[in-house]
Amino acid sequence: MLEIRDLYASINGKEILKGINLTVNPGEIHALMGQNGAGKSTLSNVLVGNPAYEVTSGTVMFNGKNLLEMSPEDRAHEGLFLSFQHPVEIPGVSMVNFMRAAINAKRKYHQQEPMSAADFLKMMREKRKVVELDSKLANRSVNEGFSGGEKKRNEIFQMAMLEPTLSILDETDSGLDVDALRIVAEGFNKLRTPETSALVITHYQRLLDYLKPDVVHVLMNGRIVKTGGPELAMEIENKGFDWIKEEID
């Protein structure tokens, strides 16, 4: 599904990713762990095409298509979703209008008719339940005045609406209390199918307890330095990252 080969990327002229290789197959959940500044968020931003980042070399194929040549919105239409670490507030734009624009843009891309208002609202109602978001949400502006937990739940709600095939969760667990984390993680699990995959960026084991990754990668200084099974995450939780550093030195 996702094939990253020798990916180099930089921001403001500073090289952050220094040769990433990563393959994600349908149905798999990959966890990406690493310390601050290792390049985790850079990788997620590069994948979704954030213009602040520049890809200097390498390829990324997504379902056989060259991802790096696509605009950010086309990447979204192709099924790529990023749950932002810091979702931006868009004052005055209601969630309903926002989501309808997103859904219909996707449908247009796939040459489908726009969704009727009734169907759309029904869909909103159903998907809301996934993350226990209250009904007032529809009238609120995108992320405006949302608490930290609400913002993250809102991200998962949008994921439910847009039904991506590959979701990237960028530190979706940071700043969440135990209950909020459970809601977000269980919401995410409800949305899983054998075809959908995820790349989960996190510092903590807690989220991974819920999501049960198939593969765990450790990112250090812009490269994946170690790959293993779920036990690797446990080991990092217990011992930190230093032992890996020593290993590669």
Binding site: N12, G13, V48, G49, N50, P51, A52, E54, E69, M70, S71, P72, E73, D74, R75, A76, H77, F81, L82, F84, P87, V88, I90, P91, G92, V93, S94, N97, F98, M99, A101, A102, A105, K106, Y109, S141, V142, Q158, L162
Partner: protein, 513 residues
């Protein structure tokens, strides 16, 4: 080929690099920097067609004879002619004001025709039935979405349709008159209800008020007259639709609304003009009298032709609008969505004389390409416990200049006056300007007057968030702009609100910045 929005991003990235270089002491390359703004597409003006209809146009030029001729054509009584002549003589002594933040093209007042009548082919007193209206005219208003056949009308809206200098047709007149409501063209009112008109015309905006008010008072052609009797709530929205068609003519509309004690009316105004290379002059006056316990809502969606992408042509919209809240507990609300005109010079104002009176001004002004707007309001607090609210949202794009100018004055006796003003500007592109000039004059210690203003742009983070959800940049801008203007749009009646939203998006097409 890269997707167009990607191309835009690329340029943004260049910007970022430049900023970086810049801190290293290099000078920014402004040319490169603004490259993406050059993408600005010519905005589409849907209403730019002309109507081929037999129109009587008087010779160009302005002198006392012309004023007399207009009055004669309208078969006005002597007092009306006197009013016009006094205004004209005063106008001659005045100079065009230049205090606004506008680069005004020179107006040759002698190169304009002051009267154009597209109903020439019809009967003198106006058409008695639809059959008498030139089918071309009917078609024009249909095309503009203003059906003159009552059965086709928007539910619950009565329309006065004015083309050039003459009212073509007023709908639902009979139905309204059952409740004592008068809704007709001002020309008709001068003939039919001289006492009412004489009593109120010029009482809110005297002809000496300003240069353009004097001009309008001398040569005003048509417009609407509304009278709401005591205790009557007008059962439908009243609206006037203004259309400039003829070439080299000015439109000088005059609207007078009187809402008597305890009455209520919601009034809408819309306007369009054909695309012409030369500037067209539109100098209007709207006067509103609000008596005790009465309430008037006045909404405008102004979409005069703004000129082309190079700034050629377009309507010069120089308008004096004022309401006098004469009675206690009276209410007046101005809502305007200004997207058209090459130049807008307009300050719908309120004089709050009645105790406990309340006034509002809600405005969205969009400028694109070479448009210039200097608009705002005046709130003059005279009575006790008066309250006013000003919400202004300016959106500038292209090479346009957009200014808010407003005055809040609290007189010494206006105890307990309260004003809140909020003026926000949104800039799309680095070649436009957004300006705020509020004036506050408080002469009373019990007053509370607050003003705040912010300037912002659409952030790259917001656009990218939308992109990541699959919404293309162009559409994202439309969404965000409409969200920004929502507070004002929500004040409009439903049909107008939808129209206004569309207009906002169309006006800003291609201005991603």
């Amino acid at each position: 080929m890269l997707h167009s929005s990607l191309w835009i991003y690329k340029n943004r990235m260049n910007n970022r690099e430049e900023r970086q270089n810049n801190t290293n002491g290099k000078k920014p390359n402004s040319d490169k920097k603004n490259k993406f703004v050059r993408e600005v597409a010519e905005k589409k003006y849907e209403y730019g067609f002309t109507t081929d209809v037999q129109t009587e146009i008087i010779d160009k030029g302005l002198n006392e004879e012309v004023v007399r001729l207009i009055s004669a054509k309208k078969e006005e009584p002597e007092w009306m002619l006197e009013f016009r002549l006094k205004a004209f003589r005063y106008w001659l002594t005045q100079e065009q004001p230049d205090w606004a933040h506008l680069k005004m093209p020179e107006i040759d007042y002698q190169a304009i025709s002051y009267y154009a009548d597209p109903t020439k082919g019809m009967k003198k007193d106006g058409p008695k039935s639809l059959d008498e209206i030139d089918p071309e005219l009917m078609k024009t208003f249909d095309k503009l979405g203003i059906p003159l056949e009552e059965r086709l009308a928007l539910s619950g809206t009565a329309v006065d349709a004015v083309m050039d200098s003459v009212s073509v047709k007023t709908t639902f007149k009979e139905k309204l008159s059952e409740r004592g409501i008068i809704f007709c063209s001002i020309s008709e009112a001068v003939r039919e209800y001289p006492d009412l008109v004489r009593r109120y015309l010029g009482s809110v905006v005297p002809y000496r008020d300003n240069y353009f008010a004097a001009l309008n008072s001398a040569v005003f052609s048509d417009g609407s007259f509304v009278y709401i009797p005591k205790g009557v709530r007008c059962p439908m929205e009243l609206s006037t639709y203004f259309r400039i068609n003829a070439r080299n003519t000015g439109q000088f509309e005059r609207t007078l609304i009187v809402c008597d004690d305890g009455g209520y009316v919601s009034y809408l105004e819309g306007c369009t003009a054909p695309m012409r290379d030369e500037n067209q002059l539109h100098a209007a006056i709207v006067e509103i009298v609000v008596n005790e316990n009465a309430e008037v809502k006045y909404s405008t969606v102004q979409n005069w032709y703004p000129g082309d992408a190079e700034g050629k042509g377009g309507v010069l919209n120089l308008v004096t609008k004022r309401g006098h809240l004469r009675g206690a507990n009276s209410k007046l609300s101005w809502t305007q969505v200004e997207t058209g005109s090459a130049i807008t010079w307009k300050y719908p104002s309120c004089v709050l004389s009645g105790d406990n009176s309340q006034a509002e001004f809600y405005s969205v002004a969009v400028t694109n390409n070479y448009q210039q707007a200097d608009t705002g309001t005046k709130m003059i607090h005279l009575g006790r416990n008066t309250k006013s609210t000003i919400i202004s949202k300016g959106i500038s794009a292209g090479k346009s200049q957009n200014s808010y100018r407003g005055l809040v004055r609290v007189a010494p006796n206006a105890d307990g006056a309260r004003n809140y003003s909020s003026c926000d500007s949104l800039l799309l592109g680095s070649e436009c300007g957004a300006h705020t000039f509020p004036y506050m004059d408080v002469h009373n210690d019990t007053a509370i007057v607050e003003h705040e203003a912010t300037t912002s742009k659409i952030s790259e983070e917001q656009l990218f968030y939308c992109n990541q959800r699959g919404i293309p940049t162009e559409e994202a801008v439309g969404l965000i702009v409409n969200g920004y203007a929502k507070e004002v749009i929500n004040k409009l009646p439903m049909e107008f609100a939808v129209e206004a939203q569309k207009l906002l998006s169309v006006s800003l097409e291609g201005t991603v910045g």
